[in-house]
Structure formats: structure tokens, C-alpha cells
Symmetry: C4
Subunit: 290 residues, 4 copies
């Protein structure tokens, strides 16, 4: 999620031709009215195109409106293709853009249809088309949601090691419980192999509980009860990890970093003009907006 | 939930006639004994009327006590109609009341029955009648629960952007997982369309797990396991968001209430000795222990 | 859970005869070796008797070991009867004991069997017999678990209003969603009445998801998805409420209440001997053990 | 999880012969390049061997690749046997190692195959073989995950009494609800005995909800709703307990590490200027920002 790359395009603008610069501003930026309109149009197009993919998967729609849906799909593909070409045209380093995360997503959102022309009948392209949704993130990155998402994401990134340790412990439990239930319940109750028993263990530990596989014997039900209580209890762990990290992240983003010039106390609120411990004025000049 | 409107009625009372003023006090207020009695009676009537709607939906009750239930329903409707007219009569601006949230709810709680007289057989009015329950909130707004609910609601409102970002990310996951499972499992396992696959993805991600649709193939079960673990893990996110916001809200309600004697600013920490906005010393004598 | 009453029995002991006093110490107290042994024996007896009730409910055990189980049950009943009489004998105010919570539980744990002699065939006494488990709490009240349980309970009691507000809001959701699904799905999908739809709404909102009733139509599945996401999201609310209250409770029990005699700063750790802000010695005499 | 024992082996090394010392460093340590390579190889071998056990449990794999899987299994067993002997050879106190937790796990990971030679046909050895996974923990103990896992584990250990109190209360609920539903629903709805009813109560309270047993009567569904709401609500308790403990643990790891220069006490807050035990000023220069 390199934000750096895009900004360098805009800031080092002078060497781009005027119309390319302007196009860049509209397509990649959201500061101008045209840029914002472009963003909103793009979001609506993306959502519509995903809706078309969804409707196309419903059999009765597919049978009845086959032609209309196909036409719409190709319209979207052509529009996105034009957009892709324009993006290539107006960025300073087209090759860098093509290899970037969003460059690949942009390409993936048009490629399946063209491939479908050559080798038809590939139902799997459907999933790829749905990935267009990811493109909305680029637009949202520039919006008011950015700050909120950053806080949530920072907390998630900071707690990634703890969460990995937790997931490793959970995987261990799943393998051991799965093997145990395979031996206890056997093939009659649907525990036909260890992988399938592990699937059941995940269904149970995460408290999903489909009921497609369920223990039949008394002892099996006893062990299953242990898994359920384990799963019910350890949900506290990721919640605790993430909560603690979120508290830290929010706190850090709400405190100014500069100490009181008189007594050196830190931890002042962002809107504080005077030190709350000694009454000395704080430097109001370097105030950040959170 | 504009509370402002109602109070203006009471405070600017002099221009209302005396009996209207009194009626207003009884119907809209809860300060007088008559007002409290009216509130309690109203709550009991609302609960009884909803109970009648519920019992009426049970076939054996409907067949056996059809007449009695119908009679009760009409009694409630007439009582609520009278109440609605009285409300119109005693408020200063009837038109403003009618367009307010509770004005509409009040009307909706009597309208279905009268409509039912003209075009009968509309089973759908049942849901509308149940909306009467919302009217209880008006009474509760004046009660001791107000403060607790405000804290919970404030935390919810303050965390709305973070929760929206989370919900957007979850929606993305649901669409992508749904499309994936539609392709992997196909129609035989019940994944007949992307919308239906998305329904299954929601059932799985939220750990509800009906089991009416469940993956059959090994690979499908593997992807399903991923969704379950995702859903089990990310429940930490809303919990974390809301918890952090609740801590902040509760803490804020622990700030000292007295304004700075010099600049009038409020919101000082309990342990602050000097106003953080103007540097003036705060009265240290009335410090509370949190 | 009046603890006061029991202790008054022991402390005002002189007017009790010596052997009654001793018996009281053994039966109600846990300070002496005999008292602790009595407690442990009682716990084992209670657990065994509940185990017998459980086994008796399993058909094959009931058929095979009917006599043995019956004999055991009567042995336990006689032992508990003797214990009940001894308790009556050695407390100062037998009538107060009989009306206390544990007095009633003690009586309930023996009564069903005697009633069964007069009017036989009452299967319902089984549940009452299981209530014997509650008697274990009396013993645990005197144990090391007391402090931990108090913290958990205090936090629960302090957050009761907030939790009630939450439960009221949830009930509203359940009634409205229940009525909605009754109208949308109707009798064919199992939503035969509003109460039954509400049962389904609870099953869904709490993410239990049996799958015995499940929406069939597309629109019904859409509304069901809304309920699931609601239920998945609002679990953050009770967790947040309880967590915040627990933090407050734990913090309060971990800080000394006295301010620094020199600078007046509060919030010192329980094991602090000197003020951490000014270095002045704190009064070490009134140190509490947490 | 005695870490002490292993280190004593390395530190008191001089009396070991040079090659044994070196072997010890490679097998038990992870400081040298050879030691790290050994660890990585071991983890890969363990994971592969568990994968083989899993694949062997899938019928089609078992039937088709029976010989290959058997060969692989024996290769792993021989490798692990050699490793076990080498461990015995290079530790100072082989007998202590054999009785240690990891010594037993090491033995268990090779024993089943040898026992299988003598008394064949024991499917139960499969579970034992899966326990090999536990051996990975030994390697991880030396890795970067150690610190994260320690924090999570410390919080879990510190909250164990509170969690036990919670689990006891939950068990009580399960027994009482189980007995209640056995009486209400009876054998027709699948509640054939109290233990089975308790299994259902656990499935419901933990919000797993298989649906293999579900209440049929209205009153049964009402009681079931109570259990669900209970289970949905009390999940806040373990989450709260663990969260609070985790905050404390993390905070403690944020305390300054330097001891008081006067009395040597540690555990001072980051913002403390004076030792809270002896009142001596702390070095303010090395203050870290948390």
C-alpha cells in the first residue's frame, strides 16, 4: 500500500505536459471538483459492474437477460480498459504503475473478459471480476475514512505477532482435537479422515457449528464439549490483544509529543495551550491536527 | 431524537390555555404524579397490545379466540387514537409534532387498523403494529435509564466511522468469499448463485452457522475454514473499537464539571491544577476522587 | 447472599452451649481442621449425589442399576436430612436460617424424595435435586475464590443498568425482526407464528444458529443477514460495558486511598512506601492487603 | 515448562567432552548457525511427518499410496529415534531429560511405531503421533515469538483463578439448564438423558448450535432462548477478565527496567522521579517514552 509513489507523480509535476498533468489530477487526485466527480463515477461503475456479475450468477436472470447482462459487462470492460489506458498515459512511470498493487488490480478487472474471448467457458473468471471491488480502496484512501482506517490497521499490524502466536496455538489444538475425534467417532459419524475431523474442529472451535458433522457417542460429545468451551473461552485472547493495541494506538494519536518547556511534563491533550501541571504556556505553533 | 422541541412546549407555556398546559404536563411530562401514572399506563397498554398481536399470530389462538383478540385490538387502537388526538390538541405546534419521529410512530401505531377497514386482508400491518414498541422509548427517555443509555449511545455514535470502515471491509470479504465458494462448490452443494453464496458467507463469518448450506468438497471446506477463522478473529475489531470508545466516554464523564474561573473552559482532568487553555489556577478545593 | 447472619452466630457464641458452639464451628465454619474436613466431605457428597441423579436419567443405567441408584439416592437424602437437622440444632435462630437462601436450598435438596414417597411418579423432582449444586457456593464463599468472585460480581452488579438498557434494546430488535420475518417467510419456512419467529431471531442474533428454522426466500435471507451482522456487531456492547466496569473495579481495589501527606498526590500503588512524585514517605501503617 | 534445566546443561558445559558439548549446542541451542539449521530441519520434519499421518487417514490416499506412506512414516520414526538417542547422549543428566516434559513428548513421537510392530492394528496410535506437533514449541521457545507468547501466557496464568470461578459458574448453569430441559422436552426431542441435555446446553451456551438436538415445544424454546441470551451475554466475562489482565501485563512490561540506585527496587513507573520504596531520586536522564 505504497502511498509514496502516487504523490511523487503529482508533486514533481512540472516535467509532465499540461494536459497529462491535468488528466493525472483528475484520475489520481481528489482535490479538484473534476477529480472528485471522477472518483464518484468510478465507484458507481465498479459497484454496478459487480452487481451485474452477481445477477449473472442467478440462473433465472442469466437465462432471461443473458444478452443484456453480457452487453453491460462488455460496456464496463471497455470503460475500464479506456480508464486503464488513460492511467498508463498520464503517470510518469507507466511501468512502475503496472507493477504496483493497484495497477495489477486494474489489469485484473479487465483481463478476464479478453481472455474469455480466446478460451471461452471459463466460469472461474467470475471471482476475478469481483476483485474489482478492491479498486474502491484506492478512492477511499483519499477520503475522510483514511484516518479511521489507519488507526484500525496500525493496531492490527502492531498486534500481528501476538495474533500469530495465538493462531499457531489454535492450529495445534485443531490438529490434536481433530485426530482425537477421528479416532473416537470414526467414519460412521462423518469423521472420515483427520483433515475432515479438523474441518469439524474448526467449525466447532469458532462456534460456527453447522451440524453437518456432529459427534454421536457419549465420549465424543464429551470431547466436543471440551472444544466448545475452549473455543468460547479463547475468543477472549484475540479480543484482548486487539483491544489493548487499539487503546495504545488511539492514545498515541491523541497526545502531543512535545514536553512542557518549563517543567518537562508530557502527555498533554492536543488542544491544550498551557501545561496542566505547572501552568506554563505550551508552544502552540507546532500543534498538529489529529 | 430532538429533545429540544418538547421542552420548548413546556417552558414557553404561558400562551397555552391552562387546561392544555396541564394536559401537556400529564401527557408529555413525567415530573408530576399524574404524568408518571400516565407513562406507566401507556407502557402497559403498549406491551399488552403487542402481546395481543403476538398471540393473534399463533394459529390455535387465532382460531379459538378470534373475536376476543379482535375486540382487544380495536380497544387498544381506539385508546391510542384518543391519545393521539389529545397530543395534537395540547402541543403548541401540532404540525411540528406530526412530522417528528415520535409523531409518526404514534400515527403508525393506529393507522394500520383503519386502513384494514378499507382494504382488508393485509397481513403486513402486523409488523407496523409491532412498531408501537418504539413508543416506549419516549417514556424511557425521561427516566433513570437515560444517563446509562446516553453513555452507551455516545460511544456508539463516536465509533460510527470506525465501525463503518470495518463493515465495508467485512462486506468486501463477504463478496469475494461468496464468489469464490460459488465457483468452488457450485450448485450441487446449494451454492446456486453469488447472492446465495454471500448469504452463506455471512452465516459463516458471523459464526451463526445454520448448516442449511454447507461445503461438500475438500477444497470448499478448506476455504470455509479460512472464513470461519477470519470471522472468529475479526470479532475482536468491533469489540475493540467499541470498548476503547466506551472507556473514553466514561472517562470524559469523569472530568471535573467546574469551568475555569478565568476563561470559562471546561473538560479539565480531575488532577489538573491549572486551566490547560489559559493557565489560570483552578480551584483545587472541590477536587473529587474519581 | 447475606454473609452477616452466619458470622453473628459465631461471634455472639457465648450463649450457645459448648457442644452446639463446637458443632456450629464445624458445620458453618472453615477455620478449624474439622470444619475444613466437613466442607470437603460435603462437597464430595453433593457432587456424588448429583452424579447419581445424572446417571439415573440415562435409560440403560436406570434399567440396569435401578436398585443401586435408588439406594444411593436415599443414602444421600438421609445424610443431607441429618445435616439439615444438625444445622437447625446448632444455629442460634433456626427460623432465620430456615428462611435464608441457603436454608431453603438445603431443604429443597431433601424435600423432593420425601414428597416422592407420598405422591410418586413425579419426574420433575429431578431438577430440584440438581439444585443441590448451589449448596457448594456456601462452602466456596469461605474459600480463596471469594476475592476473585467478588471482583467479577462487583463489576457485574455495577454494570447492571447498562446491561439492562442493552437487553431492552436487544428485545426490541428481536420482536421487530421476529414480526418482520413472520410476514416475509410465512408458515412454509417454519415461521408459523410471531413467538416462533422471535425464537428464531434469538437463535440468529446470538449467533447460535441451530438451523431447525431457516429463511428460504431471497428477501428473507437478506433480512436474516442483517440480523446476523447486527448480532455479530452488538456483542461488542456487553463486552465493552463489562470490560470497562472490570477495569474500574480492579483499579479501585489496587490503589491506596490515602494521599501523600506532603504533596497530596493520590493513586499510589499498594506496596509504595514513598510518594512517587515528591519522595515524601507515605503512612505505611494503614496499608491494606489487596 | 522448566527452562532452567536446559540452560544449566549449556552453562555448566566444561565437564562435557568437546564433541558432546558441540552436539548439545547444535541440538539444544539456537545461537549457532548449525543450531538454527538443525531447528529448521526439525520443524520441517515434524510438519512433514504430521502431514503423512493426516494423508494416511484419508481412505483413498491410504488405499493408493499405502506403501509409500508407510515408508515415509518409518523414515521419520528412524530419524526421530536417532535424534532421541543423540539427545540422550549429549545431555548431562539423561535421566532428568527423559522425565522432563519434552523428553516424554520426544519418546511418545517414536514409541507408537515400535509398539505397532509388536501388537499391530492399533489405530489409536495416530493421535499419539500427532502429539509430535508439541515438539515445535521447544524450538519456538528459543525464537523471537518467545516474548509475545510470554506476555499472552502471563496474562492467562494471572487470570486463571478468575477464569476458574467463571467456569464453575458456567458449569452450574449447564447442569441446571440441562436437567431443566431434560424434564421439559423429554426423549422425543432428543433430550434422552441429563448428560445429553447438558451436552445440548453446552452446544447452546457457547453459541455453537449444531441443531442435532433442538427444543420442539414452545416452553422449551423459551428456556432455550434464555440460555442463548445468557451465553451471548456472559462471553463478556472471560473477554473482560483476560483483557484487563493483558492491559496490566503489557503495562508492567512498560515499567522502567533500571533499579533504584539506592535500594535496588525495580518496577517503577516510567514517569516516576523518586523510588517509591525508599524515596531516593531515580535517574531522570534515561527516561524512555512509552
Amino acid at each position: 500500500m505504497k502511498n509514496v509513489y502516487k504523490h511523487s507523480l503529482i508533486n514533481e509535476g512540472p516535467s509532465l505536459q499540461t494536459w497529462r498533468e491535468k488528466l493525472n489530477e483528475v484520475i489520481f487526485g481528489s482535490e479538484t471538483r473534476a477529480g472528485r466527480n471522477f472518483d464518484i463515477t468510478l465507484i458507481l461503475l465498479i459497484l454496478s459492474s459487480v452487481l451485474v456479475v452477481m445477477l449473472d450468477s442467478v440462473e433465472e436472470f442469466h437465462n432471461r437477460y443473458s444478452d443484456e447482462l453480457n452487453l453491460l459487462e462488455w460496456s464496463f470492460t471497455l470503460l475500464f480498459s479506456v480508464e486503464y489506458l488513460l492511467r498508463l498515459l498520464c503517470v510518469r512511470h507507466p511501468w512502475l504503475y503496472m507493477r504496483s498493487f493497484y495497477g495489477i488490480v486494474d489489469l485484473l478487472s479487465i483481463l478476464p473478459n479478453y481472455i474469455g474471448l480466446i478460451c471461452p467457458g471459463t466460469q472461474y473468471t467470475m471471482v476475478v471480476r469481483v476483485l474489482r471491488l478492491l479498486r474502491i480502496f484506492r478512492v477511499l484512501k483519499l477520503s475522510v475514512y483514511l484516518n479511521e482506517a489507519t488507526v484500525l490497521m496500525t493496531a492490527l499490524v502492531n498486534s500481528r505477532w501476538k495474533i500469530m502466536v495465538f493462531l499457531y496455538a489454535v492450529s495445534m489444538l485443531i490438529v490434536i482435537y481433530g485426530a482425537l475425534m477421528y479416532v473416537i467417532e470414526g467414519k460412521d459419524a462423518g469423521f472420515t479422515s483427520i483433515p475432515r475431523s479438523m474441518y469439524w474442529a474448526i467449525v466447532t472451535l469458532t462456534t460456527v457449528g453447522y451440524g453437518d458433522i456432529a459427534p454421536k457417542t457419549g465420549f465424543g460429545q464429551f470431547v466436543a464439549s471440551m472444544i466448545m468451551i475452549t473455543g468460547y473461552g479463547i475468543i477472549a485472547v484475540p479480543t484482548g490483544i486487539y483491544g489493548v493495541e487499539l487503546i495504545k494506538t488511539v492514545k498515541k494519536s491523541n497526545l502531543r509529543n512535545d514536553p512542557c518547556p518549563d517543567c518537562g511534563a508530557i502527555g498533554h491533550d492536543l488542544d491544550a495551550d498551557f501545561c496542566k501541571y505547572c501552568g506554563h504556556p505550551l508552544h502552540a505553533s507546532d500543534e498538529l491536527d489529529a
